[in-house]
């Protein structure tokens, strides 16, 4: 009995110590982000809950940009002088870092501007090569416009048709008819994580059944790579696209992972300098992947700083990132749940294990834009609107939602400020 009491006291001491150490880790992370130390114009602490739109940047990423421009600004893959060699070296080292971060080989990582460009690259290159009239392209009802519109355009050009894997009223994928939907399907494209509802897609199940049906799988990883531990080879998707700016990196740089065997057979998307091996007036021999897909001078500084960003995330640890966001989401669902009796509606899966750091909601008859404006006065940044998923909004019957999204620098205190903001909105709207 005494022994039990002692050991349970020791356990609770361990738990308290673990909680304290997690808290001090988050505080150390916050200190790395200069913007989080800047108050808003109303003198409020910045409570940034819009990382699904773009993440904040740590000091080391900002420094990497400045260092390139101040110390070795030169073009890559051509100069023989010292700073050009260093620029090329850092640019290619960044590719190695990003490849390691997602579990790929560096030759499988193509630099792009962002996820949207990566998806267009696949649609124009692989899509034009393989899609014919009568073929099907399978998407899901959750897709962001960037993983929908390029496929609509490919369907128009090729005569292929689009199908949609349905989701239920909580935004969870319904797989009952998956095999029928995969009939005559050449390509499946889906988001790893829904940017509107946070739903984590059952990628492995879909990949194995798509492959069995002879389709390739493109994963829009814009909301996946920043938040979930990732090994693209284990995931076995054929393509995985992601953006640097949503994972602590700069804007204007992203990456497309593609299986080597696929990339090697694909024609270029853009053409011009740097993507060639030999050019004659009449014809050109293209370079090998990944450079075959990187025409013109790339986004050198941003690629290098993207490498710094994923190194930072590796140091933090992606398993820790996932657990931090899972527990924060659980806390937010609990706190927001306290407002449900007063007209707050929470959308999407309610299970923190099924969502990745995104909660969409509406509060009584307060329009999401009005809510976001009032939260702004408290320093709270949330997104309001259709989140670039207009078809999903229409299906669900929502004209707009407010969305809070979390990242490594958010804390339960941020959720508490959000709730204070909700109280203020209720009082402004006399609710």
């Amino acid at each position: 009995m005494i022994h039990q009491a002692l050991s349970s006291r020791a356990e609770s001491r361990d738990e308290a110590r673990a909680a304290r150490s997690a808290e001090s880790k988050v505080q150390r992370i916050i200190a790395d982000f200069p913007i989080l130390a800047r108050p808003t114009s109303r003198g409020k602490r910045l409570v940034y809950l819009d990382s699904a739109a773009t993440s904040q940047k740590p000091r080391c990423v900002i420094d990497a940009l400045v260092e390139y421009y101040e110390q070795y600004n030169a073009n890559i893959h051509r100069g023989v002088y010292e700073i050009a060699a260093r620029a090329t070296d850092e640019y290619e080292r960044a590719r190695v870092k990003v490849a390691r971060f997602v579990g790929a080989d560096p030759s499988e990582i193509v630099w792009v501007r962002n996820t949207t460009e990566a998806i267009n690259l696949i649609a124009y290159s692989w899509g034009a090569q393989h899609l014919r009239a009568g073929d099907a392209i399978l998407l899901t009802e959750l897709e962001h416009h960037s993983d929908l519109v390029p496929w609509q355009r490919l369907a128009e050009r090729s005569g292929a048709h689009l199908r949609f894997l349905p989701v239920d009223d909580r935004g969870i994928h319904v797989l009952d008819d998956l095999d029928a939907l995969l009939d005559a399907c050449k390509l499946v494209a889906l988001g790893h994580v829904s940017n509107t509802l946070g739903t984590i897609a059952p990628i492995s199940t879909i990949v194995s059944r798509a492959h069995a049906a002879g389709a390739i799988v493109v994963v829009d990883g814009a909301q996946g790579a920043p938040h979930l531990p990732l090994d693209v080879h284990a995931l076995d998707a054929d393509f995985y696209a992601f953006s640097g700016h949503k994972m602590l990196g700069p804007t204007g740089i992203g990456a497309l992972y593609g299986k080597k065997a696929l990339l090697e057979t694909m024609p270029p998307f853009f053409s011009g300098g740097d993507m060639i091996r030999r050019v004659r007036y009449e014809s050109t021999v293209f370079n090998d992947p990944p450079r075959r897909f990187e025409a013109g001078t790339g986004n050198i500084a941003d690629a290098i700083a993207f490498g710094t960003a994923v190194e930072y995330l590796e140091k933090v640890g992606m398993t820790w990132v996932r657990e931090h966001e899972r527990s924060l989401t659980a806390y937010a669902l609990e706190r927001l749940g306290e407002f449900e009796g007063r007209g707050l509606a929470i959308y999407g899966p309610r299970d923190p294990d099924r969502i990745s750091g995104v909660i969409s909601f509406n509060f009584a008859d307060i329009h999401a834009h009005d809510l976001a404006s009032i939260l702004d006065t408290e320093g709270v940044c949330v997104r309001a609107g259709h989140h670039c998923t207009m078809p999903l909004m229409e299906k669900m019957g929502w004209s707009a939602t407010a969305r809070a999204s979390f990242y490594i620098y958010n804390t339960p205190a941020d959720v508490d400020v959000l709730c204070t903001g909700l109280e203020k909105a209720a009082s402004v709207f006399n609710r």
């Binding site: 609107g385 207009m390 707009a400």
Partner: protein, 129 residues
């Protein structure tokens, strides 16, 4: 911004005036706010170039709906040619100060649609003229 949501704004938001549709409209227009997807449709009934009746419909935030509602009250009895000349200041006088730049399009949507109806083509954003 929080000062903006005064009682009369909330009253227009919750009890919009002239809300609905006309069976017979002489001129009408509709548009979306690209930022948030707010929608407004304006219909006018005319007699000798003067607005006899007006209805608006749509959905959106308190700012877009209240400013459209207030405009609808103003235009009854106005000459259509004067409706076409309304400027952003009219809306700002209606809704009062405190519209932040990020919400200006919400406030101007109703006026843009009204002016579009008056001139028979899509009018410029009043805040960009």
């Amino acid at each position: 911004m929080d000062d903006f949501y005064r009682d009369y704004i909330l009253d227009h938001y919750r009890n919009p005036r002239n809300f609905g549709t006309l069976e017979r409209a002489d001129v009408e227009a509709e548009d979306l706010n690209p930022l948030c997807g707010d929608e407004i449709r304006m219909q006018l009934q005319l007699d000798d170039g003067v607005v006899q009746d007006v209805r608006f419909s749509g959905k959106g935030c308190a700012i877009s709906q209240a400013s459209a509602s207030m405009l609808s009250e103003m235009v009854k009895g106005m000459k259509l040619s004067d409706v076409a000349k309304l400027s952003k200041d009219t809306v700002l006088e209606n809704v009062g100060i405190g519209i932040s730049p990020t919400r200006m399009k919400c406030a101007m949507l109703g006026l843009r649609v009204l002016k579009s109806a008056a001139i028979g083509r899509l009018a410029a954003w009043p805040d960009e003229e």
